[in-house]
Every structure is written in C-alpha cells, then in structure tokens.
C-alpha cells in the first residue's frame, strides 16, 4: 500500500515535470508546425546551467530562474537568427533543430564532462511528510504543486490574455491569423522563448532526482514527443493529460517490468496512432 502511494506521488511529480517540458513543445508544434528537436537540449542545458549555479552556492530558485532566463535568450537567438531564415520550410527547420541538438549535446560534454552531476534537493524542501502512516518526499509534492501552478498560469495566459488569443488564432490557422493582422513571426519568437524557458525550468527542477548527464537530452526528447502525439499538438490540456499518463506508466512500468519500462512508455502512443491519429485531445483538421 505504502509502496503504491509513493509510486503514485512519484508518477505525479514526473508527470508534472513532463508537462513543463512538453507544454512548450506542444505549443511550438501547434503554432510553427515543427517538432522542436532541440527541446531535450533546452532541458539538459537548463539542468547543467542550474547545477553549475547551485555548485557556486546560489539559491535553488535563483538557479532555476536564471537557467530559464538564459534559455529564453538562446531560444530567441535560435528562432530569430536561424529558424526565421527558413520560414515556411518546415522540414529544413526540423533538421536544423536536430543539427543544433547535436552541437549542444557535444558542447555540454565539453564543458561539464561525462560525469553525472546530482544537485541536492533544496534545503527548505528536503525531508518528507508523514501522513496516514506513509512518508512522502516534500520535494516531489512541491514539483506537483509548481507544475499545477504553471499549468494554471499557462491556461490563464492562453485563454484570457491578448497574447494567448493570438497564439490560439495562430495554432488554429496561421495564414488566417496573419490576414487578421497578427504578427505571426513575433508570436513564433515568443512561443519559442516560452517553450525554451519552461524546458530549462523543468531541467533544473528535475535535476535532484533525474541527475544531469550526457544523453539526458536524448532521454527527454522522445518523452515530449510521446506526450504530444498522445495529447494532440497545440493542446495544453492534451499535454497535461499525456504527461500524467506517461508519468504513471513510467513509474509503474519501472516497478513491475524494469527491463521493458522504457518500451511500455510508447505503447499508448502506438494505440493512439492506430485508433485516433490526431491525438486524444487534438482536433481533426478540416
């Protein structure tokens, strides 16, 4: 019983982390029609930057925000200087992000070497709570809380603000949005930066229990991919649902079939492809 509820908490916290990662991925995909294959790199680079700041004694939250801010700059530069040049050539853009992901992976290897880094959980969130005879790590609970808060924030942003209305218009029909006078290209930059920042933030948040190592990018990217195929591109709710499904599957799969846990993650994706190719909450485009 205790094991199961701990598993549930772990699942939810991994789900929360995946949501932070894939919300941006999904928005970028919905708006720009490209899977950003650098998304795992943003996650890893954020985690490395955060880990370096932590090693220098900075506060955990400062490290997380600084890493996100750095990624806003990097994401913005990539979008403005490189992706922009290939506007309308989606395949070229995807391959460009793929190429850049290799460059970033190798740069990280150069700077931080191949040894994994495992930052400590922030002091104020160490330990756990004991209720109903069970022990829950506070940090995991905090991640769930933060993910829910950010999900709410994104929901408000998308559904209630002007920027959000423009993003929705762009996701629905980019040419139409352009006709209506929305500067779609600025929107691309904004969404790309938001996505990069969220991924980096998730990277720092996840680092105490995932640790930071070369190949973290390649581990995370497929997860974002599965979540978005599951939930449907451009749908935040879809990303949320997809993230928690994958979070649950990963932890329970790990507990029951450790050898095949990774493969099990892909099963819902395969099912969705067969039964509902547009994703659980994706709309059929007409």
């Amino acid at each position: 019983m205790a094991v199961w509820s701990l598993l549930a908490v772990n699942s939810l916290s991994l789900g929360g982390l995946l949501f932070l990662l894939s919300a941006g991925f999904s928005l970028i995909f919905g708006l720009m029609r490209i899977p950003n294959l650098m998304h795992g790199s943003f996650f890893m680079l954020g985690a490395y930057l955060g880990a370096s700041l932590l090693q220098r004694g900075y506060n955990f939250w400062f490290a997380a925000l600084a890493a996100s801010a750095a990624m806003v700059v990097i994401g913005g530069l990539v979008e403005r200087l490189l992706l922009r040049r290939l506007a309308g050539q989606e395949l070229a853009q995807v391959l460009l992000t793929l190429g850049l992901s290799f460059v970033i992976a190798d740069l990280c290897l150069m700077i931080w070497t191949g040894d994994p880094i495992q930052p400590a959980t922030p002091a104020q969130l160490g330990g756990g709570v004991r209720t109903l005879g069970m022990f829950f790590p506070i940090y995991r609970l905090a991640i769930i809380g933060i993910a829910v808060a950010i999900a709410l924030g994104l929901w408000v942003l998308i559904d209630w603000t002007r920027l959000g209305a423009m993003i929705r218009a762009g996701v629905d029909d980019a040419p139409m949005a352009r006709v209506m006078g929305i500067q779609v290209s600025r929107l691309f930059t904004a969404v790309f930066c938001i996505g990069a920042a969220l991924a980096a933030f998730a990277g720092v948040m996840g680092s105490p229990f995932l640790s930071v190592y070369p190949g973290l990018d390649a581990d995370m990217l497929p997860l974002a991919l599965i979540v978005v195929i599951l939930g449907g591109a451009g749908s935040l709710l879809g990303a949320l649902v997809g993230s928690f499904i994958i979070g649950l599957l990963y932890n329970f799969g790990q507990a029951m079939f450790p050898d095949l846990a990774y493969v099990i993650l892909f099963l819902p994706m395969v099912l969705v492809l067969i039964l509902r190719p547009q994703g659980l909450l994706g709309r059929v485009q007409t």
Binding site: L96, L98, G99, V103, D106, L109, P222, V263
Partner: protein
C-alpha cells in the same frame, strides 16, 4: 533518365576504379575506409527510396539498421550459422519494417518524421534496457565473418569485394526502380498524392512497398555493418545514426542515385578524419547539418554546381529550397 554518354563513361570509370581497388590499394586502412563508405552507401540508398523518391523523411531508420544487426549478431552468438542468421535478420527486419510502415504511414510530412523517430527510439530502448536478451550497453561481439565459396572474408580485401558486390546489386536495384513504372508511381505520390489517388493509384500501398524496399537494403547494410565492426551496441540505433544516414542522403542530393553515395563518402571520410584529431564528431555532424540546411539546402552536388555557376558569372542561379520534397497529406 537522360543517357549522357560522357556521364555514363565517367560513372563506369569510377566503378572500375572501385572494383579494382583491392588490387592497387596497398594500405589496408584505406581498403577498410572504402568498405565503410560502400556499406553506408547501401544504407543511404535504401533510405533515399523513402526520403528522396517517396518524400517521406524517416528518422527511425537507425532502429531498423540496428535491429537487423542485432538479430544476426544474437543468433550467431547463440550458435546459429551465418546461413541461418542472415536470412533471419533480413526477414525479421522486413517484418519490423512492415510494423513501422503500418504505424508511420498513418500520416505524412512532419508527423511521419516524428512517428518514425519515436519508433526508432523504441528499438533503441529495447536494445539498451532489455539487457537479458540484448546484453544492454555491453553490446554483442560477433566472432568471425562468413566464408562464402570458401573465400575467407576476415581478410579486409576479400571483405571489401563482398561489400562492393552487394553495393553494385543495390545500385542496380535502385536503377531499375527509378526507371520502372513503379518508380514513376512512387514519385507521383510524393508530388501529388491526391491526384494520384484520383488517377487510380493506391497511394498507401505504393508507400508501404517503398518502405519495405527501403527496409530491405537497410537490413542488408546492418548485416554488413556488424560483419565489419564485429560488434554492435545500442549506440548504433541512436538518433545520431539516423541523422547521419539522413545527412548522407541530403548532403549528396536527394532523389538521385549518385547523391547518397557521394554523401556516404563525404560523411565517412569526414568522420574518420575528424575522429583522428578530435573527439568532437557529434559537434561536427551538427554543424554540417546546420550549414548544409542553411546554405546549400539542395545538397552538395547540385549546390556546388550552383555556386560554381554563379562564381563564373554565367547566371545567378537561384538557391533552391531543401532538395527534399515532403509528401503532403493529400487526403483532402
């Protein structure tokens, strides 16, 4: 196909040089490099069927390539003969390709790329995590190469000849495909899938067959790969390998026969040169990707020709978009 006698002569001369390479090349190091180029070229030609002629960009081919290698390697390690392991690897990979195709061909364009990427990762995950069967990160050692007709392929020159013959067969099959009615149908589904449907073509089936054809040569290349390296590990199935193969296809120029071969030569040579000096192959791979896509999107062969023309001031040839044409949805 334009039959230009000059070009045909040039190609034949090149093939003659390649065929006689073991006779005049004294350094075994270069014989081995040539072997590498040719089996990577088989892989790239196989991928090009889908990418270049079908307009379906796969990022999951490393999974199929490695799958074939693993099936062959694991069977041999478990005591099966070469004669049993090779057909099993090819048939097994074809079945796996059929599964890939059935799932990935639910869509086209960028979604196709995403799905193949995810499918490739599943195979990588199996190789990496299912250590009881695959030996995980330790990889599988393959002892020995076969000796067809009593010729021992452990000798690098003999192995090169075997690879060369396979390469020629692959090239001939591509030549036949490109010129055949089926090849014309495949290119039609790339350019105008909806129109092709209205003309009576079964677009899905045409693509499915192209995927199988591509998977067949990918499987063959995977087998040559494990015989060459005598080793396979999950790294072979990683996204980098798919990206390398794709780089070979687009750097040389897609939807041509020479393109993937030139691309394979460029990538293999570069990889060997770079690795000899620094450890930074992945960075170089990434940078080449970015440079080619940004500045020579149509591929090196046509791209160099364009730059040459514009330098000679003959006419300012416009930069072409990425030499890849992605098959569209076409269902509406």
């Amino acid at each position: 196909m334009t039959s230009n006698p000059g070009r045909t002569g040039f190609v034949l001369l090149l093939l003659a040089i390649l065929a006689t390479l073991p006779l005049w090349m004294t350094s075994l190091y270069y014989v081995n490099i040539a072997s590498q180029i040719l089996f990577w070229a088989v892989f790239a030609l196989g991928l090009n069927v889908l990418v270049g002629y079908g307009g379906l960009v796969s990022l999951g081919h490393a999974g199929l390539f490695g799958f074939s290698g693993y099936v062959a390697a694991l069977l041999m390690v478990n005591g099966y003969s070469h004669a049993a392991a090779l057909p099993a690897a090819i048939i097994g990979t074809l079945l796996m390709t059929a599964v890939f195709a059935a799932l990935a061909l639910r869509s086209t364009g960028i979604s196709f790329l995403m799905i193949t990427l995810a499918l490739g990762q599943i195979l990588w995950g199996i190789a990496y995590r299912w250590a009881d069967v695959t030996r995980g990160d330790n990889g599988v050692n393959v002892a020995g190469r076969p000796s067809p007709f009593g010729i021992d392929l452990t000798e690098p020159r003999a192995f090169y000849v075997a690879v060369f013959i396979t390469f020629i067969l692959c090239l001939l099959s591509m030549l036949a495909l490109v010129r055949s009615p089926y090849g014309a149908s495949l290119r039609g589904t790339r350019d105008q899938p909806r129109r092709m449907r209205a003309l009576g073509f079964n677009v899905w089936m045409i693509r499915f067959i192209a995927f199988l054809f591509s998977g067949f040569w990918t499987a063959v290349a995977g087998i040559l790969f494990i015989y060459y390296n005598q080793f396979i590990s999950p790294q072979v199935m990683a996204l980098q390998t798919s990206a390398e193969a794709l780089l070979m296809v687009i750097s040389g120029g897609t939807a041509t026969l020479a393109g993937p071969v030139v691309g394979a030569a460029i990538v293999v040579i570069m990889k060997n040169v770079v690795s000899a000096y620094v450890e930074r192959w992945n960075m170089v791979l990434g940078i080449i990707f970015v440079l080619i896509i940004s500045f020579m999107p149509e591929g090196l062969v046509p791209g160099t020709a364009r730059l040459w023309r514009s330098m000679m001031g003959r006419r300012r040839a416009a930069k072409m978009p990425l030499g890849l044409k992605v098959a569209g949805e076409g269902s509406r």
